[in-house]
């Protein structure tokens, strides 16, 4: 094997690729050749490191130096200074940019990583996802070997049941029990399905696992196939994730080449094959029954359960469907045992959970913490708090099915049941932070708009009910709210929750109910006082010029409707009747004299 004195890891996740990491990698190759280091230093494109905010991220090993927001111009300096002369480029260190201290902190010492426990993300950012040998070197396919050669299918299922692993896609159903149900269905043909249709806006953990560690998903699917007696698997992945699709294709090819997938795996007599199916942009297809119909090539409409997929699923055969993150937990559970898994997290929610931290937060990115960690730790210790000195208002979890959690509940431990108890839900793990400038009525309207758009139209409560709710919310944010609107929303919400056909409809009212529960005063302010407390809703705000105005006339020139009057060097005035609230004046003002009220 070739030996390199140094490895340069360049993040090839979606965030960093979007910020130009592919160019960095190309430049790195060129510069290494130019300095004659190509035999000593090896650049590797890895999966996501998690800290997308700092992208593109470059880490130099064995030192573990963490460079952030690296631009093509910096590559020459990294190569000539760090890799050639051994001098760390201090100005590019992540911490040099974040704080006054230019300390060279390694990954484990950085506050962003210190509080994390990486199980599902164990290999993301560590190995090259396009090279099976690197996965093998990190215990890859060891669990599969253990299952196929040393365990019976019943023992595999029993191990997963004992671990207490619950579905990471949102519902939280015990994974082992699901496997057991499917294994009991008698049928010559059964299917394993991996749900990679990560539709929740603001959630990208499954994408990172697929992009950073695709083999762990293939290995787990094969193990699941062995456990329930299936020989074929489908991965249903969003078409919006081209990098993930490409790496899955490479991984399947490589695994087949090594005899770890396909006919007679490891000469155990067990055969398993995996196909990839692309979604086509329908949120409802994340619902398991709809997803299976979509794989069959039809309109992805859900159907009532029972029959459950374990009895009658894909192509009417017994099927087992698990989400990507759930599957990524399987190999370590088999390798290290259920007790190890139970040593993390809480009694009812063992293990860890990956969250996609986004919105108004300093360190946006992917975070994996033990279940039971308080929200506060995630948002302040790992996320680094709210930027711009703004006030935290709420954190939204669970996407369009979840709810908004206010500041007073930040010490609630994160687990399935505690989040449900406060009107939100775990969901797939999106965590969007909102500050004082975000209007909670508008956020509820945003989610309802999403649901109305994505409702498949099969059942009436969802198709018509959510539409009526959206109309009321539209009215409220445009200043035409009426007394009784809140009550109407509540009544509709309860009815839809009780009567909709599938999970999408049943949870669609949650964003409205949870904001009504914790931010009712904002609704009331919109309806009664015709004011938006966050100064967000256009129809309800006024632009006002304050005493800081120097009379420079810049705003007057910017105003498209001539609503601003005033003499040079004298405080200007906005006529609210003419103003169309476009905000052009505020962008142009260099003195911060124009405010929203």
């Amino acid at each position: 094997m070739e030996y390199y004195r140094s490895h340069v890891l360049v993040c090839g996740g979606t965030g960093c690729t979007s910020s130009g990491s592919a160019t960095l990698l190309k430049l790195l190759d060129e510069k290494l050749a130019e300095y004659g280091l190509e035999k000593e230093v090896k650049p590797i494109r890895t999966g996501c490191f998690g800290l997308c905010e700092a992208g593109p991220v470059v880490i130099v090993y064995p030192e573990g130096t963490f460079y952030s927001r690296v631009t093509p111009r910096d590559i020459d300096e990294i190569v000539s200074e760090h890799l050639l002369k051994g001098r760390v480029v201090k100005r590019l260190l992540h911490h040099a940019k974040q704080a006054e201290t230019a300390v060279d902190l390694s990954l484990d010492e950085m506050p962003f990583y210190k509080h994390q426990t990486r199980v599902a993300l164990r290999n993301c950012g560590v190995i090259s996802p396009e090279n099976i040998d690197e996965y093998l070197a990190f215990d890859g396919y060891k669990a599969l070997e253990k299952c196929l050669l040393h365990m019976t299918p019943q023992e595999v299922t029993a191990t997963v049941i004992a671990s207490g692993l619950r579905g990471r896609g949102g519902g939280g159903f015990p994974t082992g029990i699901k496997w057991q149900l499917a294994s009991k269905s008698e049928s010559p043909v059964k299917y394993i399905i991996c749900n990679a249709d990560e539709g929740d806006p603001g959630a990208f953990m499954d994408r990172s696992v697929l992009e950073g560690d695709p083999h762990s998903v293939l290995e787990a699917m094969t193990i699941a196939g062995y456990a329930i007696g299936a020989h074929e698997g489908y991965i249903y992945v969003r078409a919006e994730y081209p990098i993930a699709v490409k790496r899955l294709e490479i991984a399947i090819e490589q695994a087949k080449g090594y005899g770890l997938l396909g006919e007679n795996i490891l000469e155990s007599g067990f055969s398993f094959d995996i196909h990839i199916r692309l979604g086509a942009g329908a949120f409802v297809c994340g619902e398991e029954t709809a997803l299976m119909v979509s794989i069959e090539g039809r309109r992805g409409e859900p159907h009532p359960k029972p029959p459950f997929p374990a009895v009658k699923g894909l192509f009417d055969m017994p099927s087992n469907i698990n989400n990507v993150e759930t599957l990524a937990n399987i190999p370590p559970i088999i390798n290290k045992g259920p007790e190890w898994f139970r040593s993390m997290g809480t009694e009812k929610s063992p293990g860890t959970k990956v969250f996609a931290l986004g919105g108004k937060i300093n360190n946006t990115g992917l975070v994996e913490v033990p279940m039971g960690t308080p929200l506060r730790t995630v948002i302040y210790d790992i996320g680094g708090g709210i930027p711009g000195g703004k006030q935290f208002k709420a954190v939204q979890t669970g996407g369009p099915s979840g709810g908004c959690i206010p500041a007073e509940l930040l010490d609630v431990p994160i687990e399935y049941d505690s989040l449900t108890a406060i009107g939100s839900m775990m969901g797939s793990g999106g965590m969007i932070v909102m500050d004082e400038d975000n209007c909670m009525v508008d956020i509820a309207r945003f989610f309802l708009d999403f649901t109305v758009d994505e409702s498949c139209g099969k059942c009436t409560p969802c198709r018509i009910g959510t539409k009526r709710m959206l109309e009321i919310l539209d009215r409220i944010v445009s200043g035409k709210g009426e007394e009784g609107d809140i009550e109407k929303l509540e009544k509709l919400a309860e009815t839809i929750k009780a009567t909709a056909l599938c999970g999408l409809g049943q949870t669609a009212p949650n964003p409205v109910l949870s904001t009504l529960r914790f931010f009712r005063h904002e609704y009331e302010a919109h309806i009664r006082d015709k004011k938006c407390p966050a100064h967000h809703c256009r129809a309800l705000l006024e632009y006002v010029i304050g005493p800081d105005c120097r009379g420079c006339t810049a705003c007057m020139k910017a105003c498209p409707v001539g609503a601003i009057t005033g003499e040079p060097k004298v405080v200007h005035h906005i006529n609210p009747d003419k103003c169309i609230r476009c905000g052009a004046c505020q962008t142009k003002c260099r003195f911060g004299a124009i405010s929203r009220q």
Partner: protein, 156 residues
């Protein structure tokens, strides 16, 4: 022989590849859209005939999923991410500005066929919010006043 035979040669090859595959209809439609830019009625009819199903079945699938287009899109497709992370960081203002700049409503194409403007679901690049893409190129942390500069690059 007329040109229409040749025009559909690629489509027929796609159909042949997936015809006997269980659930092969969607892969056919996806590949056909990649090859022809849109699933026009003629293409849908040919898919229906080739796959041994009805036009209504194909049309039903085409109109159910957001990614199938019945009409050709512009030369450059602008997508503004309307995922939650982008939305709370001001994606709506970026989208509004684009619509104003191009003088077209969201979801339509400019009369010269240059640009199609669309709102899209979460692209998973939440760390760069708000995000917009032009064709395959990603632009992160976009503000409304950057819009004109970004589009200039693509204008013929």
């Amino acid at each position: 022989m007329c040109d229409c035979q040749n025009a559909y040669a690629e489509l027929d090859a796609i159909i042949l590849r997936h015809k006997d595959e269980p659930g092969g209809l969607m892969p056919v439609m996806q590949e056909a859209q990649n090859a022809y830019g849109a699933l026009t009625m003629d293409i849908q009819q040919r898919i229906a005939d080739g796959m041994g199903t009805t036009l209504s079945e194909v049309y039903g699938v085409a109109t159910f999923y957001a990614q199938f287009a019945l009409e050709k899109k512009g030369k450059h497709v602008i997508s503004v991410c309307m995922g939650t992370a982008c939305y709370v960081k001001g994606a709506q203002a970026v989208l509004d500005k684009l619509a104003e700049y191009l003088e077209i409503p969201v979801g339509s194409t400019t009369s010269d066929g240059q640009f199609t403007l669309q709102a899209t679901r979460c692209l998973g690049a939440c760390g760069l919010a708000p995000v917009m893409t032009v064709n395959d190129e990603v632009f992160g942390r976009v503000t409304p006043d950057q819009v004109a500069g970004i589009l200039d690059k693509f204008q013929d």
